[in-house]
């Protein structure tokens, strides 16, 4: 008979994980739909929602990074008042995850751990160079998000580890970001494609660093490195959309599915990138 435990402390949770095989459950918005339809659950469940230490969003001075506790929900992101303007991409993504019900329950960390190719949280956090803080029996390790997700529903998490926070570094320069999601209907929609763009400016207003990422077009969301390199150094007022090359799509490996064809995905992703660059360029220029 599957067990269910609601951990009261992080140590207790880690002890449990060390002692047996558990499925961590946070918001449950991926866990519950994955239960076979009408069938009883078969996994032991470790509920982490009681771990108060994992709640909230705050700035971590020592890490020079914003710390999203593993229990920070999409609603927490959406309504956080003190986040810098360059968090816009993640805030926009938060607004587009499911509906209010899902945003209230679903956690950003759960979104990353679930590692769906269509996870809306991944492109913004990837473009923001986010890192994942992971606790396990050996202590805490921090890994770049780009390395954390390794494939469709696969991460580097060991069975005895759990995510405790997402760290979003603050590079200490002005930045702007944007997120665009494309789906067949208005709400509650799995993305056909989504893109995030982050632009960092130097004192002169030129682009000092850029992050451009695309989701739902490969097993794991992809950063368009060649495009990012082309963006760096561009002075304010540049028509950034014009810098996108057709070949930037080569980094993608979309598939045909019920939502859209592969060819469409590739083309649409680049269209979204152009639009997002334009929006972002305007915001930051």
């Amino acid at each position: 008979m599957p067990r269910y435990v609601r951990a009261r402390t992080l140590d207790e949770a880690l002890d449990r994980l060390a002692a047996g095989r558990w499925r961590v459950i946070a918001g449950g918005t991926d866990v519950f739909p994955a239960l076979a339809d009408g069938q009883p659950g078969r996994e032991d469940m470790l509920d982490i929602t009681g771990l108060a230490a994992l709640r909230g969003i705050r700035f971590d001075e020592s890490a020079r990074a914003w710390r999203l506790g593993a229990l920070a929900t999409w609603t927490d992101v959406r309504t956080a008042a003190d986040l810098p303007p360059w968090f816009r991409a993640l805030k926009l993504a938060a607004r587009e995850v499911g509906g209010v019900q899902i945003q209230n329950a679903g956690t950003v960390a759960g979104n990353l751990c679930n590692a769906s190719p269509a996870a809306d949280g991944v492109p913004p956090l990837l473009a923001l160079d986010a890192r994942v803080e992971i606790a396990g029996p050996g202590g805490v390790r921090v890994e770049p998000l780009a390395a954390f997700i390794t494939g469709v529903r696969r991460t580097t998490l060991a069975p005895d580890e759990m995510v405790t926070a997402i760290l979003v570094p603050d590079p200490g320069r002005p930045g702007a970001s944007d997120f665009l999601k494309l789906g067949t209907r208005h709400s509650l929609v799995i993305s056909i494609a989504m893109v995030a763009v982050v632009l960092w400016r130097d004192e002169a207003g030129a682009i000092a660093a850029a992050g451009v990422s695309v989701g739902s077009c490969a097993p794991v969301a992809v950063r368009l490195g060649a495009l990012e390199a082309r963006l760096v150094g561009q002075p304010p007022g540049t028509d950034l959309a014009a810098l996108v090359h057709e070949s930037d799509g080569d980094a993608l490996s979309p598939i045909d599915d019920v939502r859209a064809s592969a060819a469409y995905r590739r083309e649409a992703a680049l269209t979204l990138v152009r639009r997002s660059l334009a929006r972002c360029g305007e915001a930051a220029a």
Binding site: M1, P2, R3, Y4, R6, I25, G27, G28, T29, V31, F32, P33, D37, G38, Q39, P40, G41, R42, M45, D47, T49, G50, T75, R95, G98, G99, V100, Q101, I102, N104, A105, L182, T184, R185, H186, S187, L188, V189, I190, I192, V258, R259, A260, S261, A263, Y264, R265, E267, A268, T271, L272
Partner: protein, 923 residues
Amino acid sequence: MTDPVPVSFTVNGRAVSVPVEPMRRLTEVLREQLGLTGTKVGCDAGDCGACTVLLDGAPVCACMVPAGRLEGADVETVEGLAGPDGSSSALQESFLRHGAAQCGICTPGMLMTATALLRETPHPGAAEVIDALGGVLCRCTGYRKIITAVMRANDPVPLAETPAAGGAVGARVDRLDGRPKVLGSDVFGADAWPADALRVRVLRSPHHRARFRFGDLDAFTAAHPGLVRVLTAADVPGRNLFGVIPALADQPVFAEGEARYRGEAVAAVVGEDAAVRHLDLESLPVTWEPLDPLLDPEAARAEGAPLVHAGRPGNVLARGLVRRGDVDGALSDPDPDVVTVAGTSSTGFVEHAPIEPESGFAQRVGDRIEIVACTQAPYMDRDDTAAILGLDPEAVRIIPTAVGGGFGTKLDLSVQPYVALAAWITGQPARLVYTRAESMAATTKRHPSRLSARVAARRSDGRLVGLDFSGMFDTGAYASWGPTVANRVPVHASGPYQVPHYRARSLAVHTNGPPSGAFRGFGVPQSAVLQETLLDELADALGRDRLDFRILNALEAGRPTVTGQVFAQGVGIRRCLEALREDWTRARAEVAAANARAEAEGRPERRGVGVAGMWYGCGNTSLPNPSTIRVGLTADGRVRLHQGAVDIGQGSNTVVAQICADALGLPLACVALVGADTDRTPDAGKTSASRQTFVTGKAAVLAGRALRDRILLRLNAPPDAALALDGTVLRAGERSLDLATLAGEADAHGLVLAAEETFDPPTAPLDENGQGEPYAAFGWGAHLAEVRVDLDLGRVYVERLICAHDVGRAVNPTLIEGQVEGGASQGLGLALMERYVPGLTEDLHGYLIPTAGDMPEVVTRLIEDPDLHGPYGAKGIGEQVLIPTAPAILNAIRDATGVVVRDLPVTPDRLRAALRAPLETPA
């Protein structure tokens, strides 16, 4: 199962303490353990939002909250919204007044979500409401009335209309069954069950086509404590077949040896609640041998294709034909004045997706069986279930629950045979609630279509000369309503126009797909897509205005339809089209200006406007379809209306009562409804074919008048005497009678004065060329769609819908608007997003239906061209509303972009591919 642990939390301010299985969903704790069934379950996957409750003040899906987490939590449900005295809150009252609840299954989720919004934003704007409600699906309303009800919740709610005697027809009275819907107390299929009910779950084929064998089921049962029985075909005492058309009944309750579609039932487990819930159905001893399935009607028609049913050669279930004039001659006319256009279209399976999955229970009462379940067709259920159990129809009692959306799918049997068999065989009550995936896989769908047509008109006078149509419909594994679709389509494929030379052929072909059945419009929405989009091309080819071209060719009284029927009255299509003219002119100008701007600014965005017309026959095609209504007075001074037409949210409970009250001459407030129950209410037929207002409504007129005559006779009052009820005293003009004195005369229904009348609309059979009088009346309508297209992404946004419908007489304008908005939203879904692929889209995130933000403003223009037969002139509306939406949207897309897409749905990738096509064609 994990051992139950105690949790203490508060529900609606009340402290509760219950032992829970910690991974049990909060929905189940509320519904099954605390009896709070106001919280609904539509999917168990977060997709529908019907289960929304407030957890510590925030809306969440209760289906994804594990019970183990509830300690100390504060839960608010719909039951907590009303005041302590049971009075509804302002928001609930606003829902009722604005017609925001149709079937009511989504209402609790909508109310709870809106409650959270209104606490922070008492007077939200439309965009805020749409944002907040985006997570709750509604399949009935098209959302607009819900949005209005939430926006105005904290304004003074207008008082309910309470029409005086004779004033009910035409009044915007509240839905008579609406209060329990907004209170969350209405009882749907899954909401009531006897405490000792066993639970039933059905094992279904995971393959499109497979042979199967069972292992030792008895040993399996014995090895599972709490399991009582595994039922298979061998346990069916009567006929292991059912079907809505008795002569073609071909669907087994349990497949025997071979399953013909994915989702077909092969066995059912029956046992104690927890034992069955925790059973892994995949552990049942069954071996499957998958066979090559026929998934495409063309393949099913191919030479040598295996037969889905022996005895149906070529896999043909049914054919239809309507022929008039000489279409070959007309379309091959060498006269250069004759212009012809041709095209093809296709649609896939479309799922009804009522938010309520099929559900109910049965109990054995002596030698009878009672089935309490959601349904659209109680008497048909009764007869079919009786045959399955080997009983007389009278031994089966069907008591329909409130129905959380049907749209045609709940005409066919679903849970009924399983719960009936389980209860009959075990002697204990038995309940079954379909899961969402089961509901999607097992139940009927809209027929996929492959259509082609040619249509011609004269350049000189703009008159249509001929239309040649042929359509192949994938009717899936079983007959269901396939023949009905095959018959209805050829009658309607001309559209509401005068077409002198006409031929329409249809073919319903079996495949190993899910059974295609009835879905709002019986194939006509599919054929209208092709016919109405071709009319636009033809108008353009003739150089004529698209709306004027339709008006010029519109049917008129005194002119023959394509079946040769001539109506002397009640043909309102011209008025419907004309009602769009002003908007057409305005929208054309706006579109031109907007597109010129977009072009000048280099924005990849174009707007477009499209119109489409529609006609739809009310009632069964050339078949009898009577309805009977009983109405009477009780000794305690109530008018009791035995109204057996199942209200699936469309409003028959209210409309039929309004009609009957006026015919009788007493105020609507005096009328008490006796709901459908095959033991108590006479047969009002099935809720389909847009027949309840028209047919049952007419029976209500006749019954109301007959009762009035009886009263006048009894009181010896003159024919024009006004009636009044004053306590138990009945007055007719000067005369009066204390009904209490008649208590001894009460009949079996408790009525002291009563009348029962039947109406069967006059039709005449169709001959071998499809000529005849298939319907006593048609409903007419035309929609105008305004769209915006993102050219680079192929995404279509519908910005406004203007819907003109000739309803003969608008018995209740609020309810009709609700039908229009809801039908239009289903038409929008058909056009842009809905595509059911067996095995791939068996949930409400793979299968997309419109959300609140997908529905534009809908303007309804009601035209009242009274029909001779209809009650107070009224005609049907239920299906009419869906038909013109998709073609109007397609026409608007073509107007915006110049490309024709007729393979539905027009998803972004399909439209984008079509937009690219001209670029990619080598010069």
